[in-house]
Subunit: 150 residues, 2 copies
């Protein structure tokens, strides 16, 4: 029965990632969304280092990491279900008070990540370096409004 409900949630999430009725337990949803953020950090770090010129550019690593990020950028959002409001996390109440703005921020990251991955897979180093800032701004802008200050 539990699997059944989770599947329905996933199906709805395709169309409406933030409004879906989550059926997984709130704590599990938080763990899943935090896992996505952890992995986004893992694969973003090297790209940031390379795109900003701090370390030698490796087009293969950038292509791989950006492809992972393109996928990972889609994963956190259904974890911010309203059922998780009271679970301790770094999410600010604004996530649920301003759902349209939050959805826009989520959409923006996904769109910018697609552009980054497209340039990265084309081994377009200049394109990656140009797009790097847009992805960074999408991360930072959302964190600024919706995450507890680190």
């Amino acid at each position: 029965m539990r699997k059944n409900l989770i599947v329905v949630g996933a199906a709805l999430a395709l169309a409406a990632p933030l409004s879906v009725l989550a059926q997984a337990k709130p704590e599990q949803l938080v763990k899943q969304r935090q896992s996505a953020m952890t992995l986004i950090g893992k694969y973003w770090g090297p790209i940031a280092g390379m795109a900003s010129g701090k370390v030698p550019y490796n087009a293969d690593v950038v292509a791989r990491n950006a492809t992972y990020l393109e996928n990972l950028a889609q994963m956190p959002w259904d974890g911010f279900n309203e059922s998780t409001k009271d679970v301790k996390s770094n999410a600010l109440p604004a996530v649920w008070a301003e759902p349209t703005k939050f959805q826009e921020a989520a959409d923006r990251l996904q769109a910018e990540a697609v552009k980054l991955a497209t340039a990265a897979r084309a081994k377009d180093e200049a394109g990656v370096k140009a797009q790097f800032g847009a992805v960074g701004k999408a991360c930072g802008g959302c964190h600024e409004s919706f995450r507890v200050k680190q």
Copy 2:
């Protein structure tokens, strides 16, 4: 400096995911690999429910989830660096005592996940249902040998 070292780790990981010298802290590596496993569980659950006929089949959800899994199946392995041996986790000592066998198990999951995703994106329901068992066996076989009993 820290970023620099992490980048080198990622670059090497392309060629040798298990032998790479990890530069991230052991606790961070464990957190990252556990995050990948958490997300594999998130996206595997609905596929398992649908492929085994417990819930109605949704080809779009299966295609999306299997694509995520194809990516996620590549992510845990560099987190099993030898530096993490003494960090509390569910990994058994066999991970480091039998590295060749562990690498083979990791490779197997990745190969089976590619096949599943290929069938899923082709909207080949019969192919997905045929491949579902192979992925499940790859998960279970590795857990049997390398993970603390749950």
